[in-house]
Structure formats: structure tokens, C-alpha cells
């Protein structure tokens, strides 16, 4: 096959190729928007009848099985601080008992031993010294475990003194905006999250708010509290 013939063949293929590509483009442009796929809502099987389609029954609120036992963390003026497992419904005194009881220097007045607990709580028992020194006594506080993170595990509640950091469950937009790294947008998101999903169970629950990540949470940790 001569050079000219080869070139001619190449050019023929090239022209055919261009024609095919142009035809493909023309086909898609001409027919676009002319077809609608069947709705993806086809339901198979007898479980859902036509009656249900006509008058849909209200979606039941899901119920969640409670954990078989609570995992709790106790620190501060107890004999054996650490993580303990207690039956659901336990109170602070039970946790303190499991931790060997209060140390002699524990501030037994500021800790509410009858305080109801929740799964994943962190209870801190302050020493009496801090009560003497501080203008406001610092009662026992319960916090969520720091291991929580984005997975959103169980949380807790915190009880602190009056001059303590901002309570994210009661703070207004203005108060939240005073916090480091919180602007009007995130403050509004926190308040909206609170009103939609109920109070925050732990500081780590803030990770559920759009715009707050581990970095911002770390910056906020010492300035906020959950009651």
C-alpha cells in the first residue's frame, strides 16, 4: 500500500470518526430531556398495600433499647478514681461507694450524692480545699467522657459554680458569640440544634453542630459546660 493510499485511509477514518462523534453529540442534544425514568419508589412484595399508599400511616418514633449497664467515670477526692459499671438508674452515691468512698479531704457538702446519673457520665468530686479558697464553692460535676468524638457516644451533664464557663444548653446567641471561635452563624446553629434535638448531653455533642470540629471543640472546652 502506497504512502498516499495510507494517508487517504487515515483521513477517511478521521472523517468517519469526526462524523460519528458529531452524530453522538447531535443525538444527545436532540433527545435530552425527552425521557423520564420510572420513579425509584417502586415497592415490591405484599407488605405495603395500596391502602397504605393512599393514607400513609404516621411514622412511628423509633425506640432505642437502653444499655444493659452504665459505664461511669469518677475522679477527684474518692479513694479509687476510675471507670465503673453500674446498673441503669444509679445515683452518685452508688458510684462513690464503688470508688471506695469519699476521701477525708472530699468536699462532702458540695457534692450531691443523690444526683441521678446517666450512661457515660464523668463525675468529679472536688476536694474541700477548693471550697475554702474559692469565692464560690465548686460542686461535683459530671462530664461526658473525652473519648467521645464524632462517633457521638453517650454523654453526660455537668454541674459547676456560678462563675463557671458558659452553659451551652441555656446560653443565648449573644453569650455563645462571646466564646472563642464562635460567630453569629455557629451560635445560631448551636441554638437551633438545641431546639431541634433537645439539650446537649455532653460537651462532645457540640461536634454534632455544623461548623464545629475537634479543633474548635478543643479551643472551647475550657470555656463551656453542659448542665
Amino acid at each position: 500500500m502506497g504512502w498516499n493510499e495510507e494517508k487517504k485511509k487515515s483521513l477517511t477514518f478521521l472523517a468517519a470518526g469526526v462524523l460519528c462523534l458529531a452524530a453522538a453529540g447531535f443525538l444527545l442534544v436532540t433527545f435530552s430531556g425527552r425521557w423520564k425514568s420510572p420513579p425509584s419508589g417502586m415497592v415490591a412484595g405484599p407488605a405495603l398495600s395500596m391502602k397504605q399508599t393512599e393514607t400513609p400511616s404516621p411514622v412511628p418514633q423509633p425506640t432505642f433499647a437502653p444499655p444493659a449497664e452504665w459505664v461511669l467515670y469518677v475522679t477527684g477526692a474518692v479513694r479509687s478514681p476510675g471507670v465503673y459499671r453500674l446498673p441503669p438508674g444509679a445515683r452518685a452515691y452508688q458510684l462513690v461507694e464503688r470508688a471506695g468512698g469519699l476521701r477525708p479531704d472530699a468536699d462532702s457538702v458540695s457534692i450531691n450524692l443523690a444526683m441521678p446519673l446517666g450512661d457515660g457520665m464523668h463525675v468529679h468530686v472536688p476536694a474541700a480545699l477548693s471550697v475554702v479558697k474559692g469565692a464560690n464553692p465548686q460542686p461535683a460535676r459530671a462530664e461526658a467522657p473525652r473519648t467521645n468524638g464524632a462517633a457521638g457516644e453517650a454523654g453526660g451533664r455537668t454541674i459547676r459554680a456560678a462563675d463557671a464557663p458558659v452553659d451551652i444548653n441555656t446560653a443565648t446567641n449573644g453569650e455563645l458569640e462571646q466564646l472563642p471561635g464562635i460567630g453569629p452563624k455557629i451560635a445560631a446553629a448551636i441554638v437551633e440544634h438545641r431546639s431541634t434535638n433537645g439539650p446537649f448531653r455532653s460537651i462532645e455533642d457540640l461536634l454534632l453542630v455544623k461548623g464545629i470540629g475537634p479543633k474548635k471543640l478543643e479551643a472551647l472546652r475550657n470555656s463551656i459546660v453542659v448542665r
Binding site: 485511509k9 468517519a16 462523534l21 453522538a24 442534544v29 464524632a150 454534632l208
Partner: protein, 494 residues
């Protein structure tokens, strides 16, 4: 000719055209016909006489593959799968993430993968076994078939979840956590995630979560979006490549000794052993990161390269990427509408087409060209693209190919509870603080952003398609011609 040099690119281009057609509301027959025409057109465009022997047979075989593939790809898209009629599911939580103000979990059960919305305070962690009663309903599917030019990209929740293998939504009436699966990727992810969150300082946490479990910190994501380096946080070929390269670096001395120790089993410098071991690490890493589309695509591509190495037949970069992209489409065609899949394929194809550029030239050219090629997709989805990304990517890509392995190494003692973990983690935190300061300073010098424009997107499409032509071994003139023609069709369609 493409048929012989990069056959997978022919299939990918044709399948993509068919899916583009379906996405634009063209009837299936028109989409199939357009795909066939693109197949023949590209083959004709790349023809140069004399054709290598066997081209006809290869072409015929590819055409059969094209038709079979079209059937596999278009069928589930055109005929949506029926919702399983189940009242109770039991399975493993394979994904847990925030979704607006709620949380969603994906449960892998015997009837398929279900999407379940749960309150944030009651979400189940990945890897846990759950038993859920309720009813299966179709995924929310808005009617967006009619063309809407007011927004360039519309988010469709059903497509998003279908791309992740979800068959239906399950509205729960009760959810019970029955335990934790042992030694599954999900449970390993949860454990690693827990350790990272509890033992690492803030920046280390955010970067390690992104690189190792594929969880993005919204604040860090915002920072990287502002710097134009958001791709560093999504597990992609970059991360997969680093993980495999680091492992192979560690393995090389071992592999060299193997043929001497076991001459009967290991030949040729232990190439087979290295490839198999690297493949195991590769898929383990991808599993750990949650097997996102970009990670799977990258893993398949690296796997093709590793297999080529083991068999002594090095693969062409563009063909490897196309093989991986085709495999993903065959596995789940809905991925075509996933932004992650599109970005990762476009970026990988661009890099593969530029693979001949090596050394400093390669580093300096690749970043900006990838920025240009992905600009239409990013701008269409996020509104704007920061210009600083053009500059920062020069530094970010080489810098993070060192930073990621380094911070992973520095995090290891802290994550495994060894002494010195806190000091090592603080050192890692310091490195990341330095990067953050540098990126922030650079971004403050170049604060501009580029919005989506038809001219810019058209130019980017021409650049990308021309590069593809070059990657498919077409001449510059033919590549440019293909680029212009392709860009015209794309913009008429969208």
C-alpha cells in the same frame, strides 16, 4: 490506535457518554446509540495506517464488552431496583455520619444496605451489630429530570446514597444495638477513631481522621477549601499512593533478601512477593478508610500497576486509571453522579496523561493543570474556586507526601499507648501548625476566587479532553479537535 494502546479509555468514554445521556434525560436507546457512535468515532479518530495486526479482533472484542457493559450499567439506572419488603433487619453498621442536624447510619443486612436516620444522641457506632424493626421505603427522590439552568448542580439525596450502595431507606420503629462485630473494618475504624480522638491533639486528630478513617473535620475542611487544597482531606490516589510507597520502601530490603534465602519460591528480586504484600496493605488501607469511591478507584489503579509489575508487563497510566474507573462503574453505575468519583477520575486521568513529565517539571505542571481540569466540577458544586490553590498546590502536594507519613509515625506511640506518645504527638501538632500558618499567610496574600463561568469551564474541558487525547496517544491536532468537539457537546447538554 486507542484500540491497542489504551482500550479501557474507549470503554470509559463510551459508558460515560451513555450515562451523561441518561442524566440529561435522553432515552436509553439514544444514549446507547450515542455511546456506540463515540466508540466508533474515537477508534476512527485515532486510526493511523498501517493498523497493527489483530486490531480488528481487539476492536470487535471491545465492542462486545461495550455492549455488555452498557447493559450492566444502564439497567439498574433505568429500571430502579424494587424496595425490599422487610419489616426487620439485622446487620452491621458500616457507616455513621452527621446528616444535617440528624445522624444517619448505613446497615449492611442480608437484604442489602439500608439507610437509617437516627437522633444524634442515639447514633450507633460503625462496626456495631444492630437489630432494627420498621419499614423499608424508597430513597427520597425529587423530580429533577427537567432541566434547570438556575443551578449548575443539584444535589440529589437518592443518587448520593445509591452511589454508596444503599438499596432503600429504613424507617425504624425500634433500634437495638446487639453488640459489636469483631475484626471487621468497621469495628477497626471505630477503635482507631476512638483512639485518635482521645489521644491526639486537635490538628493531629483532624488530619489523622481524614487520612486514616476518611472522616473530615468540618472546620479543617473549611480551611482547606479556602486554601484550595480540599483534595488533601479526601482519601484518594494521593493517600493510597503514599501508603503503598511507604510500605514498599519498608519492604524493599526484605524483598531483596528473599530470593537469596528462598531461591525456589522467590524470583526476580521478590517482585511477586512485594506486589502481593503491597496489594494486601493497599486493600487493608482502603477498607480502613471506609472504601470511598475515590479510594477504591485509586486502589484499583494501583492494583493494576502492581499486577503489571508482578507479571513484568508495566501498564500505561491512562489505561490503568480507565480500567479502575470502568470497574467502579460496572460495580455501581450510580457512582457516576458522585462528585467524589468524578473529581477523582478527572484528577487521576490528568495526572496519568502528564505522567511522562518527571522531576521538578512534573511537580510544577501537574498541580495547576489538575486545578484547571477540576475547576468546572468544583466551581459548579461549591460556587467558587480559590485562586490561591494554584500556588499552594505546588507546595501542598510534595509537603503532604512527607507530612502524612510523618504525622502517622509520630502518632503511632500515642495511639498504641507507648511512652513518649504525648511528646511525639505534640511534635506532629507543631508541624501541622507550621503548615497552617504558611497556608493562611499565603491565602491572605491571594484572597481571590474564581466563580463558575461558561468560558472558564469550556476552556478547562478543552484542556482536559486534549490531555486525554494525548494520553490516548492521539496527535496534538486530533487531541485538540476532540477536546473542542467534546466541550461543545458537554455544554450543549448542560
Amino acid at each position: 490506535m486507542i484500540v491497542c494502546s489504551t482500550p479501557a479509555s474507549l470503554l470509559l468514554a463510551s459508558w460515560v457518554v451513555a450515562l451523561l445521556g441518561i442524566g440529561a434525560g435522553a432515552p436509553p436507546w439514544a444514549s446507547v446509540l450515542a455511546a456506540c457512535l463515540v466508540f466508533v468515532g474515537l477508534a476512527g479518530l485515532s486510526y493511523s495506517a498501517p493498523a497493527p495486526s489483530g486490531t480488528m479482533w481487539t476492536g470487535a472484542f471491545l465492542f462486545v464488552c461495550l455492549l455488555a457493559g452498557l447493559l450492566r450499567i444502564l439497567w439498574p439506572v433505568c429500571v430502579p431496583p424494587a424496595v425490599p419488603s422487610v419489616r426487620e433487619i439485622e446487620g452491621v453498621v458500616s457507616l455513621e455520619r452527621k446528616w444535617g442536624y440528624a445522624h444517619v447510619i448505613l446497615v449492611d443486612s442480608a437484604s442489602g444496605r439500608f439507610l437509617i436516620r437516627v437522633p444524634p444522641s442515639r447514633t450507633a457506632s460503625e462496626g456495631s451489630l444492630v437489630s432494627v424493626t420498621g419499614r423499608a421505603v424508597p430513597l427520597p427522590s425529587p423530580d429533577v429530570r427537567k432541566r434547570d439552568r438556575s443551578r449548575v448542580v443539584q444535589f440529589r439525596e437518592d443518587v448520593f446514597w445509591r452511589a454508596r450502595g444503599v438499596v432503600a431507606e429504613f424507617v425504624p420503629s425500634s433500634v437495638e444495638e446487639t453488640g459489636m462485630s469483631s475484626w471487621t473494618f468497621s469495628s477497626l475504624r471505630t477503635e482507631l477513631r476512638r483512639r485518635i480522638v482521645s489521644a491526639m491533639p486537635a490538628r493531629m486528630q483532624a488530619y489523622l481522621l481524614a487520612a486514616w478513617v476518611g472522616v473530615k473535620d468540618p472546620e479543617l475542611q473549611e480551611d482547606h477549601a479556602r486554601w484550595g487544597t480540599a483534595h488533601l482531606l479526601a482519601v484518594s490516589g494521593f493517600h493510597v499512593g503514599i501508603a503503598v510507597a511507604a510500605f514498599m520502601l519498608f519492604l524493599r530490603p526484605v524483598a531483596r533478601r528473599l530470593p537469596r534465602l528462598f531461591p525456589a519460591v522467590f524470583h526476580e528480586g521478590g517482585a511477586l512477593f512485594t506486589s502481593v504484600a503491597a496489594s494486601v496493605v493497599l486493600w487493608a488501607y482502603v477498607g480502613l478508610t471506609g472504601a470511598a469511591a475515590s479510594a477504591l478507584r485509586a486502589a484499583l489503579m494501583v492494583q493494576v500497576i502492581l499486577a503489571g509489575q508482578a507479571l513484568g508487563r508495566p501498564a500505561k497510566p491512562v489505561n490503568s486509571v480507565c480500567v479502575a474507573a470502568c470497574a467502579l462503574l460496572l460495580w455501581n453505575p450510580w457512582q457516576f453522579w458522585d462528585l467524589g468519583w468524578r473529581l477523582s477520575v478527572v484528577a487521576a486521568l490528568t495526572l496519568a496523561a502528564l505522567a511522562d513529565l518527571r522531576g521538578v517539571r512534573g511537580v510544577f505542571v501537574s498541580g495547576p493543570v489538575v486545578w484547571v481540569a477540576t475547576y468546572p466540577l468544583v466551581a459548579a458544586s461549591f460556587g467558587t474556586v480559590p485562586v490561591v490553590g494554584l500556588l499552594l498546590n505546588f507546595v501542598a502536594i510534595p509537603a503532604f507526601s512527607l507530612i502524612f507519613p510523618l504525622i502517622s509515625l509520630l502518632a503511632a506511640p500515642g495511639l498504641s499507648g507507648l511512652p513518649g506518645g504525648v511528646v511525639a504527638a505534640s511534635l506532629g501538632e507543631r508541624i501541622l501548625t507550621l503548615w497552617e500558618g504558611f497556608a493562611e499567610a499565603t491565602a491572605s496574600f491571594i484572597p481571590g476566587t474564581v466563580s463558575w463561568s461558561i468560558l472558564g469551564a469550556g476552556g478547562a474541558a478543552i484542556v482536559f479532553l486534549t490531555l486525554m487525547g494525548r494520553g490516548m496517544a492521539l496527535s496534538i491536532r486530533r487531541s485538540l479537535f476532540m477536546g473542542i468537539l467534546g466541550a461543545l457537546v458537554l455544554f450543549e447538554l448542560f
